[in-house]
Amino acid sequence: MPQINEGLGLLSEQFMLLAGFAYMVAFCAFAWDLVTFSKTVKKGIATEESANAAELVSAGASRTKAQDLGAGPLDRGIRPSSKTHAGSDGVTAGDSMRYGKAKRVVARVAVALTILAAAVHGLAVVFRGMAAGRVPWGNMYEFCTTGSFAVIVVFLIVLTRRDLRFLGTFVVGLVLVMLTAASVSFWTPVGHLVPALQSYWLVIHVSIAVISSAMFTLTFAMSVLQLFQAKREASIAAGKKDRAPVMRLVPNALSLENLSYRINGIAFVGWTVTVMFGSIWAEKAWGRFWGWDTKEVWSFVIWVVYAGYLHARATRGWSGTRAAWLSIVGYLCIIFNFTIVNVYFSGLHSYAGL
């Protein structure tokens, strides 16, 4: 059993606090970007639209048609690749989530701050692991701090592929909530693993659970935005005034749906593996691979809800808003499984000092 290094544990907590402050600043920057950029977009929209009109005439009718459809649920059938959206249907970016050439200085600062915060956060997680001489996910505090780090890493990775900066406020906000919850409600000093958790399966099972949950966190944020955007698109289509111009920055509902579907697909496979590895570990630890322990029940419920989500996308009348709701419900189940089930339900899944 490796020695516990309490000094390093303390350092980890200080870094965690530091990361929290950095996230706070990044959060403000992202929020500022949302406000200022949507103003810029509003100003630019008039000129863009006139330029667009000229282009559309030359491009012919088919292009106009495709663009209008960008907002409807039929985009998928047309061009699965992508196009840069003009602002004609109330959004700046389409499937590709490219926003044209406008520079968003504030957003860049926000991303830089997020990267800085993530680096400090990562160090804090590593120090915690080093202090305990094991993987840093042996209790709820560690699961929460490591999990939020995974959320930000997944966000930054997807950011290299897609301009998801509109999600920044949301994701950094969620990470802040997770870090606060960890430090306030779940805090426990660094310590050894209880014997029940001393297994290499802890490394495999929990790490995959953390990564899957991080991806589900991202799609949760996108699904919530999708619901708002779908409502806004409907009201704009009905000829009403755009009441939330901030949402211009957010891609259209269908693009959000498509991307969150892709991420949810990967996360669902991750969750399936989590449950399977969990079963193998359960067999090794308790002598049965499945026993409807409260934690197992909720992992099952989460799996079934997301399976429902994947099927919903292929069911007439269930794609779009309803699918987004399923994605949200699935994520709420994950939160419930982590908080309420861990704290209030009795079960075999033990967490040292919560």
Binding site: M1, Q3, R63, K65, A66, L69, P73, L74, R76, G77, I78, P80, S81, S82, K83, T84, S96, R98, R161, T188, P189, V190, G191, H192, L193, P195, A196, Q198, S199, W201, N258, R262, G265, I266, F268, V269, T272, M276, E283, A285, W286, G287, R288, W290, G291, W292, D293, F300, V304, V305, A307, H311, R313, A314, T315, R316, S319, S346, A352, G353
Partner: protein
């Protein structure tokens, strides 16, 4: 397949690709057709799936007999009105209840009704050639052209053969057609494993369910509490509790034996915050595969079961068994040995019951606590402060009378019904309670004998399990996972290449791609095919190879990091 071809170019927006995923073509006839169609519809399957999620929840809200039978009994005692009603609704046996079973059986029926027709359709698709080449490839989702310069010696027929070879090397199934016309073409299709994966996933889920059902038939499990030095023999009387599967027979038990030599426990002494928290349990066992077999030393730990005689032995609990000697009123030793005390908290505060039916003239019984490290607080109350035996104490009340053990009614060894007994020692009695430190003894009042505390042993609670079907569950689960990955991440695509000889000597090649279902990597595949075709004919790829509907508009909107020249609708 034909209708897809006809439909697609006509109105791309009216044929969302999801349609062919969602609805199976039902091949069943008869009067029950409608009901069957309802059950096997995607909508019903989705509804049943979500219902299953909801139905699983009560099992986590209320104690379940399968995992916590004692808690259920307690719940029924605490809620005499609502308890039985809930019991009638099987809320304490959710996962074996008729309503839960009904949901998953309906779901699986629906699933079978969905899988079989889809398997048939896919089997046909696997055996048929790629659909005929659309008239206007340029209307497909992805479209491109290659021009082979005049004088290359490559005519339309040779070019189409080359294109077929290129597609084949990319894993496509190809079919060259119209070779006798001046516009020969090749139709190609890829991604059959997507649907196969889908079918394998769903079939494997049925397999998982079947394997779980089988494991309920042939498995068994049992518990045994073993004190250091004791030996467990794998026979029915050897178990404290035993749960056989439906088809269990006595002959299934292989007569191995397990002796617990020592149980070593390590506590955290390093950190203040987790001081005294156990960090390791190691049981040393001597096992024999049969009555005459050679003894073997084995180590049993949490998370590390010992496999023996077709079963696994798990370490699931532990505690102290104080060793006591009790002499009766006649001065004879009425009981000598360790008594199991079940720990209730982190300091191993362990209630203990000692029954001495052999004591004469009066039977004796003791109820109280065992504390490994007893400490007296400011108010004079003794409590346990540490799980290690630093200052072990037995704090007992003594009773005499008929213990009722001879009446034949089974009694719980861990509880004592004191209603018909006479208390002779206790804090409230004049004689006082019994407090025994290590190696002390106490003489009971009224010439009832004495009790002495001679030592401490540890015990291990063992679970013994035999589940022959779980390996099949694993096999089906792994198959399901592989199928899931294939169905989610593979793409089914069709590609057509058509060639023709231009009057000026050039050979014109056009190709188009069509995705079946959602496919965000189609553009990347189109670019890759374009590149491969250009390389094949050693034609340099122009800056903009990739055309939309007769458009040359470009931007650098590369998808998912795929390097490609350009495309815009």
């Amino acid at each position: 397949m034909k209708e897809n071809l006809v439909k697609k170019p006509k109105s791309a927006e009216a044929a969302p690709a999801k349609a062919d995923v969602a609805l199976p073509q039902l091949g069943f006839f008869g009067m029950i057709r409608w009901a069957w169609r309802q059950l096997t519809s995607m909508r019903t399957a989705l509804f049943l799936l979500l219902l299953l999620a909801v139905a699983a929840v009560p099992g986590s809200l209320f104690p379940q007999r399968s995992s916590a039978a004692a808690e259920v009994t307690q719940y029924l005692k605490d809620n005499p009105v609502s308890g039985p009603i809930m019991d009638w609704f099987k809320l304490f046996d959710v996962y074996s209840s008729p309503w839960f079973s009904a949901i998953y059986l309906l779901l699986f029926t629906s699933l079978i009704g969905c899988v079989i027709p889809r398997a048939k359709i896919h089997y046909k698709a696997l055996r048929s050639a790629p659909p005929r080449t659309p008239k206007r490839l340029s209307r497909l989702a992805e479209y491109g052209t290659v021009q082979i310069p005049a004088g290359s010696g490559m005519d339309a027929k040779a070019a189409v053969a080359d294109a077929a070879a290129v597609l084949k090397s990319r894993g496509y199934r190809v079919d060259v057609r119209d070779l006798d016309t001046d516009r020969p073409s090749v139709g190609a299709e890829i991604g059959f494993f997507k649907e196969i994966g889908n079918l394998v996933f769903h079939t494997s889920m049925i397999g998982v369910l079947a394997a779980v059902a089988v494991s309920g038939l042939f498995g068994y499990s049992g518990q045994r509490v073993l004190i250091e030095g004791e030996t467990f023999v794998n026979t029915l009387p050897g178990y404290d509790t035993f749960t056989p599967g439906t088809n269990f027979g006595d002959g299934q038990l292989s007569p191995y034996s397990v002796q617990l030599d020592k149980l070593a426990v390590t506590y955290d002494r390093e950190t203040k915050a987790h001081y005294g928290q156990p960090i390791d349990f190691t049981a040393t066992l001597t096992t024999k595969d049969g009555p005459g077999a050679a003894p073997k030393k084995q180590i049993l730990k949490v998370n590390d079961p010992v496999a023996i005689g077709g079963t696994n032995v798990y370490l699931v609990g532990n505690g102290y068994a104080p060793v006591v000697t009790i002499k009766d009123g006649k001065g004879n030793v009425a009981f000598q040995g360790p008594v199991i005390s079940i720990p209730t908290d982190g300091a191993y505060t362990s209630p203990i019951v000692i029954k001495v039916p052999d004591a004469k003239p009066n039977q004796l019984a003791f109820v109280g606590l065992f504390l490994p490290t007893a400490v007296v607080n400011e108010e004079g109350v003794t409590f346990g402060s540490d799980p290690d035996p630093l200052n072990p104490q037995l704090i007992l009340d003594a009773y005499t009378g008929d213990l009722g053990l001879d009446s034949g009614i089974p009694r719980n060894v861990y509880t004592l019904d004191t209603s018909k007994l006479t208390q002779i020692n206790g804090r409230k009695l004049e004689a006082g309670g019994i407090t025994l430190r290590a190696y002390e003894s106490f003489t009971l009042p009224g010439g009832n004998g004495s009790i002495s505390f001679d030592g401490i042993k540890r015990f291990a609670a063992l679970d013994i399990r035999h589940d022959p079907a779980q390996v099949y569950v694993l096999v089906f689960a792994v198959l399901a996972l592989a199928g899931l990955i294939a169905s989610l991440f593979l793409n089914r695509r069709r590609v057509w290449v058509r060639t023709g000889n231009h009057p000026d000597g050039r050979t014109m090649v056009e190709f188009g791609l069509l995705a079946r279902g959602e496919d965000h990597r189609l553009a990347g595949e189109s670019a890759a095919i374009s590149k491969a075709l250009h390389a094949k004919w050693m034609v340099s790829e122009p800056e903009t190879v990739h055309h939309g509907v007769g458009e040359s508009h470009t931007n650098s909107d590369a998808d998912s990091g795929v390097i490609m020249a350009s495309k815009d609708q």
